[in-house]
Amino acid sequence: MDAELVRQGARARIRHSWRNTAVSALGPLTALAGLVWALVQPYRITLLDPDKHSFWYLAVQPPLLVMLVGALFHFWVVPGLLSDLEEAEERAT
């Protein structure tokens, strides 16, 4: 009886885990997009050649900002979100 309940719970958790995976992937995918952009257009990383650029172009480098947004989302928003999601899924099962 207990084993049957455990199996049902595990099945339910697997059924819901796509949300967990999808939310966990958003930040890393964003950061990866920024990394690919930096590799494709290295001249956008003005820090590689700081003498040629003015303050604003050194302060605002789009590929680095995209990576930063991905990291910020992943480390600031996602952890609490996943724990709330797991709690809600457990309650639902």
């Binding site: 939310v23 964003t30 172009y57 605002v60 989302f73 928003v77 609490g80 809600a88």
Partner: protein
């Protein structure tokens, strides 16, 4: 020491990208779970309102033409209206679901402002192309919040609304003050930088 216009567009791109990620996460996990922590419920209306406030300095300092100023002030007001209405709804101060209609309204105002204030054709320069593209994207995307207001639980509307901001962020990141688009650059636009 004003930042160049393209740099301002990239900074707004950062805000829209973060906003899009938050909205996409909310669409995936559902509004109930997203709003379990108060700060998360306030994050997207707060960002929208803040971006509306930040649009005012853009309106004041980037005075290349009167129509630019009008467009920037229209976006500032639209963003603040949406942010304020959503903050009121989250807080419970506003109860009518009709306030949700401020979202499609803001998208329509913003889309028209983009299209009206860009007076050059699509292939004049990259900036002109992106103004047209963003304008039409916002006009078409107004369907998503409208659908959300009518069917709040439908994934397609909320995901579409979230993706709108991610697409707008990508287009803002593509902006340059003066650059060709698909090999086209009008001789009246000046040389590429």
């Amino acid at each position: 020491m004003e930042p160049p216009a393209e740099v301002v567009h990239w900074m707004f791109g950062v805000g829209f990208l973060f906003l899009g990620l938050c909205l996409l996460a909310e669409a995936i996990i559902g509004r109930e779970v997203w709003r379990r922590r108060a700060w998360r419920a306030y994050i997207w209306p707060g960002i929208a309102f803040l971006m509306g406030v930040l649009m005012w300095p853009v309106m004041v300092f980037y005075t290349s033409s009167a129509i630019h100023m009008l467009a920037h002030s229209a976006w500032a007001q639209a963003l603040m209206l949406v942010g304020g209405a959503q903050l009121g709804l989250v807080r419970g101060k506003l109860r009518s679901s009709m306030w949700e209609l401020t979202l499609p309204l803001a998208l329509l105002v913003s889309g028209f402002a983009f299209l009206i204030h860009e007076q050059n054709p699509w292939f004049f320069s990259r900036a002109a192309f992106l103004h047209h593209a963003i304008g039409w994207t916002l006009l078409v995307a107004a369907i998503f919040p409208l659908g959300q207001a009518l069917q709040p639980r439908r994934f397609a509307w909320s995901a579409g609304f979230a993706m709108t901001w991610i697409v707008v962020a990508v287009m803002l990141f593509c902006d340059r003050d003066l650059a060709p688009i698909f090999g086209h650059l009008s001789k009246f636009a000046g040389g590429p930088r």
